[in-house]
Symmetry: C2
Subunit: 427 residues, 2 copies
């Protein structure tokens, strides 16, 4: 096996190596910057990058005697998340070169753990559905998914070990699946959202990209104040949840799930089918009622002050949101609350659910970021979700599976994801 460049190391390897003096944070940062220099003219994952600023951070970390748990790990920050020393453009001309006084708390926590905030990654306009310039590293003619497009592509392409995204519908798990990396959306509100621009506040969640479950666990532990998860001593109990959307999954996405079961059961996992009550079809209302209603409110300033600079698609969503009756919005929230209350019964004794993440491979073209349905379903429930890059489709492109945990049981989900990823990698 050829020696990997430092930019290809995992976050755990980097932090360990920098702490042990095996290599410097500066060397890791240079390797990441070189990879970006070489590749980003094609991928276009970065909205802002100042190599000197990144290297200065790295040198400051190298000068420290005692180093934090993310020592020298480069992190890409989705460009709707505030950084005190870099602009936050939000994928919109309204905020070109927009400077903020403070870091978002999630960024500050990573800095406090000695991460290098490498730069800002490309986002769809205000973390919505209007595509931006980023391309899929596996096939430049395909979407990387969105809205956290740059973060997924940058991690997949070895430009950084870690990146931040946000998920309102499927903006972390879909691009992670399309780009072949791990994507994790924690329980709603578990990572503090201070300093991000809201899309639909009742479901916006900060999520994370990495190339392994261990790396996702490392950064999430810093951001949530949680100890690292331990290896499971016994195989998990898994509920196989095809959902009522199953027929929308293409054969390759269905195969990924069924093949995962075929390989997990022999390793000891207990898998049983889990079905959802009919009432769960109401979760699709997130897209058509709750998201536009809340979007219209969260964009009130831009709608007042900069309306001509908002894209046609987003303008239409805001206009739609302004016409949805309040009573209809509240009824949707209540139906979703009722679904959430049924989650414990649906899980039964299962530790996690296994369910499709996407309808298939990343679609051709850059005019759409793909189908949100398999991701947004779970976002509306506020439960934690993770995708693992376990399969390939007919064009050799990645297809992730999705694992779901109970509300607040992110530790159980991550420990089970670690077990699943190890079993599926070993087959």
């Amino acid at each position: 096996m050829p020696a990997r460049n430092l930019n290809q190391l995992s976050a755990c390897e980097i932090a360990h190596g920098v702490a042990a003096g095996a290599f410097t944070a500066e060397a890791v940062t240079r390797a990441c910057l070189e990879r970006i220099e070489e590749r980003d003219k094609h991928i276009k994952a970065w909205a802002f990058l100042d190599p000197q600023l990144a290297l200065a951070q790295a040198r400051a970390i190298d000068a420290k005697v005692s180093k934090g748990p993310l020592a020298g790990v480069s992190v890409g920050i989705k460009d709707i998340i505030a950084t005190h020393d870099m602009p936050t453009d939000m994928g919109s001309p309204i905020y070109r070169n927009n400077r903020t006084a403070a870091d978002a708390s999630s960024v500050a926590l990573a800095r406090g753990a000695d991460a290098v905030i490498l730069g800002k990654t490309v986002t769809c306009e205000f973390a919505g559905l209007t595509p931006n310039v980023t391309r899929n590293p596996h096939d430049l003619d395909r979407t990387p998914g969105g809205s956290s497009s740059g973060s997924a592509a940058a991690v997949a392409d070895g430009m950084v070990a870690l990146a931040y995204g946000t998920q309102t519908g499927g903006s972390v798990l879909r691009p992670a699946s399309f780009c072949g990396v791990v994507g994790y959306k924690p329980t709603y509100n578990l990572i503090c959202r201070d300093g991000i621009k809201f899309a639909a506040e009742s479901r916006d969640t900060i999520g994370l990209f990495a190339r392994s479950v261990e790396d996702v666990d490392l950064i999430a532990s810093v951001l949530t104040g949680r100890p690292r998860v331990a290896q499971r001593e016994t195989p998990p109990k898994i509920g196989l949840c095809r959902t009522h959307l199953w027929d929308h999954a293409r054969p390759e996405a269905q195969h990924a799930i069924e093949n995962a079961v075929e390989r997990l059961e022999p390793a000891g996992a207990v898998v049983r089918d889990v079905s959802l009550p009919e009432s769960f079809s109401a979760l699709a209302e997130a897209r058509t009622i709750v998201n536009p209603f809340e979007r219209a409110r969260s964009m009130a300033h831009e709608w007042n002050a900069n309306r001509p600079l908002i894209s046609e698609g987003l303008s239409r969503q805001i206009e739609e949101g302004l016409t949805i009756p309040y009573a209809r919005y509240i009824a949707s929230l209540q139906r979703m609350q009722n679904c959430r209350a049924q989650i414990p019964a649906i899980f039964g004794d299962a530790d996690i659910l296994l369910t499709p993440c996407v309808t298939g491979e990343a679609p051709k073209g850059l005019t759409s970021t793909g189908d949100t349905r398999f991701q947004e379903f779970w976002t509306a429930l506020h439960v934690p979700a993770i995708t693992l890059p376990t399969h390939k489709g007919p064009n050799g492109l990645p297809i992730g599976i999705q694992l779901i945990g109970r509300l607040y049981e992110d530790e159980t989900l991550l420990a089970a994801a670690l077990w699943v990823s190890q079993v599926l990698a070993a087959c």
Copy 2:
């Protein structure tokens, strides 16, 4: 009855008068500014005020042919809520003269309805417990309550008709009760929190101050996209909920509740006692576990960059939050979630609950903003709450009662509050 000055009019009267051409927005704004000029040297409710900027807004509204539902109504904005044309200092030297690119969405929505954003009101440091300079308009030697100190005092003193606050524990309802105004904390997340600084994100809620329920309903309808509430045709069913904290209420606070029942029943309200399960005592953990844990994360940037400028009290809370184990935090969240699930059964057929708002009158001195327990109990449940200034204590100072609604049933709460306020005013 002497003619009131324009600054003493209700928001509904102002909006109606300006729309009808009875007086101008500029005249209303001048009256508010004059009141502030006369009184604020004693009250100290304002953190930022630029009379020319306020008057320019008013003149722009006067020049419009078609006017919005808040036409010419002056609004005070708590100084942790962003305004694109005024600084947002957050009650901290860290953010002295801090400018933001955008309005918070709640501010932008009020501007879109033709309100005059008069200025920024004094907040406790980062909406916490460290008192700021504001004094109680009813007795300058007493606290106005906090953390939305300036907003409550400004509305009470006739400086503005409306003001914004935020409530994490009791930061809207307590100052409203101490200052003798109406204070409303909607259902969690109902008013978009884009552009505010978080204290403890899992409970921070934007709330509103006014001198009447009608006025609170007017501004809340703009911010939430809800139609105005209608008068109830029948008296409400009321659950009298003393809570396990009842013995902490001083005789005057207990009397307010019992006297309210004595006057509401003859008017037709059906009142029955409601008791809470023992498990609800866990809600007090909000203060000791959840708030410090989340505060330590939301303040990560300031903790990294400006630690010496954080007050001793807040520093202690952050340090405490950093030592609380994750498992303890999650267990608290789960216990609160379990309490929330019991709310429908606790209400039974009641439309609203009636419960103490405060332990008594505003305490003497400015070193504490008062006891948070009767307010924070309900904040942790995410349910909507309103206080009405219905009673006086032994020193002639205001004591509010508190009414509680079910999650998302803010309309039912406000309609019942309207009925209650009319009955109690008429006695």
